[in-house]
Amino acid sequence: MYTDKVMDHFSNPRNIGSLENPSGVGEVGNARCGDIMKIYIKVENNIITDARFKTFGCGAAIATSSMATEMVKGKTLEEALNLTNKVVTEALGGLPNEKLHCSVLAEEAIHAAIADYREKQKSS
């Protein structure tokens, strides 16, 4: 049911883990529904220089976290905010319908991490 690309990102996920002193952290989802995604970003000069994730969830959730973190690296914050779940899903060669919400979660986690960064910027 999963594409080779999904299985590749599931079995060899990129960017697993956390960052020390992250610029921003976004966490979305809840354990009750069976998926939580936490994304850490490092921002320098408005550019995401590093991204990591930790995910509690199914194969699709892990694969989209891996793909999304891979795709935001090197992007400006504005570009990263424009990264839609559709683009992430396409990069994975598609997801089964019932798993599309996993890609929405990845988009939301990135947005949350960027919002957290901007919040921190304001207060510092």
Binding site: R32, C33, D35
Partner: protein, 392 residues
């Protein structure tokens, strides 16, 4: 890579000798069993032989055995058939919260038709209290349907006790014994049941064929209308090869039940002990003792079941899970929720069910691989980190 198949509660392989017996009924003895010529008569005779094999395994009369397309049809027929035939007496049915969907969804359908259903609760081990069944019985109760053993957590229900209560109160009693055949002793007299469902592909027989035991004198409306097959109670040309396969499979299953149960349970217990000792924060689901010999169901904290299944599959091991992601719904297994597991723990469930061909080497491989996979997924999990585990 050798595949290690540990999803035998989902389906089993077909025994070679069973498949061999079926073959000639596809190619040589293919006649319609309702016909008068010899190839039809031969098929008819083989069906009656299979019926006697089932009757012997269940300790009933051959005339009380009806062939169906499988467990789902048998459950549907028993419940709808008994409800419809006894509607003049009442429209109340008693069941449990952990039945198979073939039972639960049939009951939901009847509720929409004006029937009332009381679902008795189960305890933390998934066990029904027969006294709860007794208290649920009303003047208008026409049927009790409680499964013999649960397909997810393997808990074996006190069927004989419920049977005594049902008989005392003169209420029909159906049991879904789909997981029980070949795994535990099944005797309709001992159990005190009036109706019993079984399915061949759970005991090394073919898919697409099952049977319903209907005690002599029990009123049951047919589901299938048409020809006069199965003595007018289940229309449709008989699945002759399937029925032959079912008969052969149940005969062997009954003969080997005791020996198989002991051997398989020993392997299962070894796997269970190893997992509980070597993987922290794992919970055993189902009854610790009164459980199907081949069933092991655990919840692994901080990880999600589908991810676990995929990792196991990459390692050549096939299992199943009660997580929402594997059920195609938003909620995890109704059985795991019914035994009181919180959603997040239910999402992390893993069911491994052994077969009579499961080897010591295969179990050792699972013992070796599973802790590594769990650790890998936990290191990815933000829940694990939150619980102050040292992860870098």
């Amino acid at each position: 890579m050798n595949k290690i198949y540990l999803d035998n509660a989902a389906t089993t392989f077909v025994r070679r000798e069973v498949a061999d017996k079926m073959l000639s009924y596809f190619t040589d003895c293919y006649g319609n069993a309702s016909s008068v010529y010899s190839t039809g008569r031969d098929a008819k005779k083989a069906i009656e032989d299979a019926r006697r094999q089932v009757a012997k395994a269940l300790n009933c009369q051959a005339a009380e055995v009806f062939f169906t397309s499988g467990g789902t049809e048998s459950d549907n027929w028993a419940i709808k058939g008994a409800a419809l035939a006894n509607a003049d007496k009442g429209k109340h049915i008693i069941s449990s919260t952990i039945e198979h969907h073939a039972v639960l969804h049939t009951l939901e359908f009847l509720q929409k038709q004006g029937y009332e259903v009381t679902y008795v609760k189960v305890d933390e081990f998934g066990m029904v209290d027969p006294e709860d069944v007794r208290s649920a019985i009303r003047e208008d109760t026409v049927l009790i349907t409680i499964m013999a053993a649960n397909n997810e957590i393997g808990t074996i229900q006190p069927i004989s006790e419920i049977g005594r209560i049902a008989r005392e109160r003169k209420v029909l009693f159906h049991t879904d014994a789909v997981q029980a055949i070949g795994a535990i002793p099944v005797d309709v007299e001992e159990m005190g049941v009036d109706l019993l469902s079984l399915s061949a592909h759970k005991f090394y027989g073919p898919k697409g064929v099952g049977a319903l035991y209907v005690r002599k004198g029990v009123r049951l409306e047919p589901l299938m209308h048409g020809g006069a097959q199965e003595r007018g109670r289940r229309a449709g040309t008989e699945n002759v090869p399937g029925i032959i396969g079912l008969g052969a499979a149940i005969e062997i299953a009954a003969l080997k039940q005791k020996e198989n149960a002991a051997r398989i349970a020993a392997l299962r217990d070894d796997l269970q002990q190893s997992i509980l000792e070597n993987i922290p924060e794992v919970r055993l689901n189902g009854h610790p003792v009164n459980r199907l010999p081949n069933n092991l169901n655990i919840s692994v904290k901080y990880i999600e079941g589908e991810a676990l299944l995929l990792m196991l599959d990459l390692a050549g091991i096939a299992g199943s899970s009660g997580s929402a992601c594997t059920s195609g719904s938003l909620d995890p297994s109704h059985v795991l929720l019914a035994i009181g597991l919180p959603h997040e723990i239910a999402h992390g469930s893993l069911r491994l069910t052994l077969s009579e061909d499961t080897t010591r080497e295969e179990i050792d491989e699972v013992k070796r691989v599973l802790p590594q996979i769990v650790q890998r997924l936990r290191e990815m999990s933000p829940l694990y980190e939150k619980e102050n585990h040292h992860v870098h």
